[in-house]
Structure formats: C-alpha cells, structure tokens
Subunit: 358 residues, 2 copies
C-alpha cells in the first residue's frame, strides 16, 4: 500500500525537533558523500489565469540511502508578482478546485523503488526551512546567544520561531513586519504559545539592535537587511536570496550557503519572464559573494568547514535553495510515524507500479 | 477528481497515430517558443538490492501551455549492468512488490495547477519514443522510402515497427537481433500483425543492406551501427547514444538530435558510478559530433532546419534523450480520451492539493 497523507497528518505526527534531528543526520550523510541530489528547477510559461501571471512547474530530487528513501517534490503553481509598498512580492494563486494550491512530495523506497507515500508539501515546507535555519544557528550563532530578532510574520516566520526556540536558550524575542497589525497580532499570539514575551517593534532597526540572532523570514523579493544592522557577534540568516544584498553578506566574517550553487535551473517558454528586480538577479549575487566557493551547511554540520573562531565575528547563513533531499529526510520520519500510528489513507501500490519495463 | 490510469487504459485509449499527431503539434509549439522543458536528470546511489546494482531516481519536466498541461515523469529504479555476449546491457530489476517496476507520469493543469492524472509510464514510454522516431523519419527519410531494417526485437523495437508503418508506405521489412530465436519469433509474430512479410536476418549487415530506413532499437550500451552499413539515401535512427558512434554520425550528411544538449544531468552519491564503456561517454560523443550545435527535431518539424536536399544524402536522427514534454503532450490526449470514455480510477483532487501556501 502507498500512503496518502495530508497536512493535518504532518501536524499530528512530526515535531520541529524530529525535523531538526533528521536534517542534522542527513546533512552529515551528505557531507560524507552518502546521499545525492538534483537541485531545484523551475519551468515557466505565461499564464492566462490571472493578469501578468506565470505558470511554474518546480521540482527537486533527493536520495538518502541511509534513510532508505528518495523524494521528489513538485510544485505546480500560478504565480503573480504584485507590488506591496515599495517591494515586489511573489504571490501564489490558489487556482486549483476549492481555492487550493498544488505542492506534492512523492517518497520512494531506495530498496525496492516503490512509491511509499505521497503528501502535500505545505506543512513540511516551513518545517524543513525553519529546521535548516535553526540547525545553522545551532552551529553558527555565538556561545550564549539569547536574543532573536525575527523579520516577517508569515508562516515561514512562525516556523522559524518554533525552530530557533528548540536549539538555543532564547530569553529575548523581537519581531518586525511592515504592517503594524501583523506584528502586534504575531507578538501577542506567539508570546502565549512560547510562554516568553515577544516584543513587536516599530522598525526593523529597533528589532535587530543588539540581537544575537537575526532571522529574515519575509516573502520580499527586494533587499530587506541593511549593512548598518550588523553588530559584532551577530548571526544573520535569510530564507531567500533577495532578502540580503551582496554588500551585507560580504560584511560578514563567515558566510555559509545551504547548498553549493544555491540557485535553481530556470527554463522559460511562451515568452515568460520573472520580474526584473535587483533582488532576483541571483547570478549577479552569486558572483558578488563567491557563492559557488562558499562552505555549505553540510560542511558546517560535519565539522569540515570552520565556522566562527570568536564570539565577535559576524556570521551569515543563506538558506536560499530548497532541496528534495530535505523532503526525503523529513519524509522518512513522517512515514515511520504514520506507519506506527496507522495514519493516512492508502491506495494500492500496484496502481502506481507496473509489470511493463519502462 | 484526479484520474489514476494504468497501462491497460493507455493501450485501450490511445493509438500510435494519436501519439505521432500530438507530438508533431507539440514540437511545432516548442520550435515557436511556446512550451518549456527541464531535461532529464538521474540521481544515482549504490543499491544493496542486487549485486553491483545502483538505485536511480530519474525525472524530467515539460510544460505545453497550448495543450493546457504540464507533466513530470519519474522513474525510481534498481538497475544492473550485466554483460550479455560482448555487450554490457542496462537491466532494470523489478524490485517493487509483485516484481514490479516504478515509473510514473504526473499530469498537471497549466490553468489551475491541479493534478489531473497519474499513470505509469510503461506503455506510453515506447509509444512516445517510437512516435518520435517515426516523426523524424516522416520528415527525414528520402522520398519513396519503402524498406526498413529493424535492429532489436524488444518492446522498443515493436513500437518502432508499428510507428514507422503509419508514417511511410513500407513494403520490405527486415529484422535482426543477436539471438536467433528472438528474431525468428519477432518476424513471425509481427508479419501476422502487420500483414506484411518481415524477414529475419542472420546478421545486422544483411538486414541493413539496401534498406532506406534503419531503426536501431536495442538496449545495448556498446556501439551497434557500423560505418560500412551506410549507403546513399539511407536514414538511420537510434534510440540511445551508445548504439551509434561518432564516426558513423559524422559520416552522415545530415544529423539531427531530439533535443539540444541531448544528455541527462547526472548526480552521484554513495560512491556510485555508471559502467565505463565507450558508448556511455556521451560528453565525448557530444564533443565529437557537435551535439550542442546540431539541429533538433523541433527545428525539422517546424521547417526551421533544412533536412535533406537530395535522395542520395545519408541522414541520421539521434532520439537519445527523453523529454517530460513528450509525456505532457501524450498525456493531454490520454486524459481527453479517458474522460470521454469514463475510464480509470479516481481519487479526490483534494487529497493532492492543499489550502496551505507551499
């Protein structure tokens, strides 16, 4: 039987601690050459579904043989790029029936090849991003880091908060977002959930001042972080390349990227293009920061790359390209827990396999 | 509802003519810039499932907006490379429950993003390969071509035979395969099916002598075609790069490749590797034949590339890299016919979509 799980199953079955643990194992495996991946590709055409929209088929593959699984994560999206304030944002349109989004993970067995599980990516997505950010902060933030500035209040930001809280003893949280009502609501809601006071800030500068850890978790495709923010000992992380400029990255003593060549393969048809903003020119960014030679998270977790040599250094983690490999790792835990809990729906594996040699 | 179809549905619903027609449309679309694709990737690790085996996660993406669909084709395979006679072959192990193989196509709507259908690739695979070969022969073989030599007797060869028979008036068929019992059985069986005499040959040379069209359809990963075979006016096609050497290709007056850069992205982990044979060094082949500058099938079908200028020229078609785009095109026809026939099984599309923004 092949398991079909949903986002509620993911919420019920796995915790952010599970995710961080399995990712830590998986990055060590990757550093030691066990594990393989094909980086993300976006195949893009124009879309008639919304004015100025694009259709994007995004996919990424990963194989984690020590965990017995491989995964492919697929997103089939209608995307628009509206201008919000001064910034251009990337907004997905819920165009599937029932105003829904299409993002799937297919998990396969490396032992038999068979499809083990299919689940939507919506709940795992922020967990794996936040788990990765937290894992980097665990290894990279200075000893005794205790204050965190969170920039952004969306679902990625919420996940980052939960994740950082599990890897470091944080006593002081601040949050900033461009909309006052969002940051106030976020601070109130999450102060209660974490049982720690979270302070909403009027400006990003106020939030980051004297913060040991700065977590950028916006959906901006223009620069967010400023050089003037940086203070000795600070650790800054970003979940998408536009958030942080080459100038800011180059001012850090240590910069680590999630994966080598941290950018997707882009294929266009139908005259489609992406908005021409400074933040989205990742090739230029890559050139300006030496992205292709930068140590990766796997290097850091495995101890192969030196991280910080003093508590005064400024470190930076660019969590800027997702991996199918992460979905394989998290999927392996999800599957185990789902099997133990007899959760999810089943379809016969025979529906998805064949006697014909393909 | 999302349709789950099986190989029997594919056999019941679509014909090779359907496949050739939709591919012809799709390559014109591609030539005119409508349509986009991400080429095949193989992500490979070692496998304990069989001695010397590898595990390979293969994927390829395509978007055909004029047909309203995108597709991703995924293969999750255990593969061995046994030596058969003088040649090394690539053999998939049916390791999934019930001794089955795992190859899937997921078809999405470019209008809504939703998953429209899921089906195994086993039956579409030879149809799209053979349909592509036949389409090339339709445009590239000389006027009045009437004799065909088929090298190989497997399922790819069978599909090639059915396909070539629909695009050209063939009066003379010959078949060769290394095993006598295979070629004799094949000739008998298919003579009856096509209602035309097919002659089994003792040697490949005998089969190709004075043939207007030579179809290589083996699973050899060593060279099969010989320079000495080539005669004025001949059209030769190959379904995998090892079948045909740079020397043979360079002796042709016109060589056309299926797609630009006709080779997959390879990613290895776990110390895995592919067998080191002459035939598999596609980068070397590419360099020796100028693959990256070669006209493609889309160029030929759209009339953008000149094909043959006389019936004496020797032409060659390298059908050496599959495209998710082909599965999108064929999938669009399959879906229409399945909907009309109320065929297949259904699962709720909500199982595969989500309200969470991924």
């Amino acid at each position: 039987m092949t398991l079909i799980l949903n986002n509620q199953d993911v919420r019920d079955l796995i915790t952010i601690e599970d995710v961080i643990d399995v990712l830590e194992f998986a990055y060590k495996e990757l550093a030691e050459g066990r594990g393989a991946l094909r980086r993300r590709s976006d195949t893009i055409v124009k879309s008639d579904t919304a004015p100025g929209a694009i259709y994007s088929l995004k996919s990424m593959d990963g194989v984690a043989p020590s965990l017995g699984v491989s995964a492919i994560r697929i997103n089939s999206d209608i995307i628009t790029h509206p201008k919000v304030g001064e910034n251009i944002r990337r907004v997905k349109v819920p165009a599937a029936p029932g105003e829904r989004y299409t993002g799937l993970v297919l998990l396969f067995s490396t032992g038999t090849g068979e499809p083990l599980a299919i689940f939507p990516d919506g709940e795992v997505q922020p967990m794996r991003v936040a788990g990765t950010t937290a894992l980097a902060a665990k290894y990279m933030a200075k000893n005794g880091a205790r204050s965190v500035a969170l920039i952004g209040t969306g679902w990625q930001a919420q996940a980052q908060l939960r994740a950082i809280d599990t890897v470091r003893k944080i006593a002081d949280y601040r949050v900033y977002s461009t909309r006052k009502e969002n940051r106030d609501r976020f601070a109130m809601e999450w102060s209660e959930k974490l049982g720690t006071q979270i302070r909403p800030c009027e400006t990003a500068e106020e939030a980051v001042k004297e913060a040991d850890i700065v977590l950028l978790a916006t959906n901006s495709i223009e620069h967010v972080a400023r050089e003037a923010w940086l203070e000795p000992g600070m650790h800054v992380s970003s979940i998408k390349s536009p958030e942080i400029s080459a100038e800011v990255i180059n001012k850090c003593d240590v910069a680590v990227c999630h994966v080598p060549h941290g950018r997707p393969t882009l294929e266009f048809g139908d005259g489609a293009s992406l908005p021409n903003t400074r933040g989205l020119d990742v090739d230029l960014l890559a050139k300006n920061i030496g992205l292709d030679d930068m140590p990766t998270l796997a290097d850091v977790v495995s101890g192969r790359a030196e991280v910080r040599t003093s508590d005064d250094q400024i470190t930076c983690f660019l969590n800027i390209l997702g991996l199918g490999y992460q979905f394989a790792a998290v999927g392996s835990i999800l599957l185990k827990k789902a099997q133990a809990a007899v959760a999810g729906r089943e379809i016969p594996t025979d529906w998805l396999t064949q006697t014909e040699v393909p």
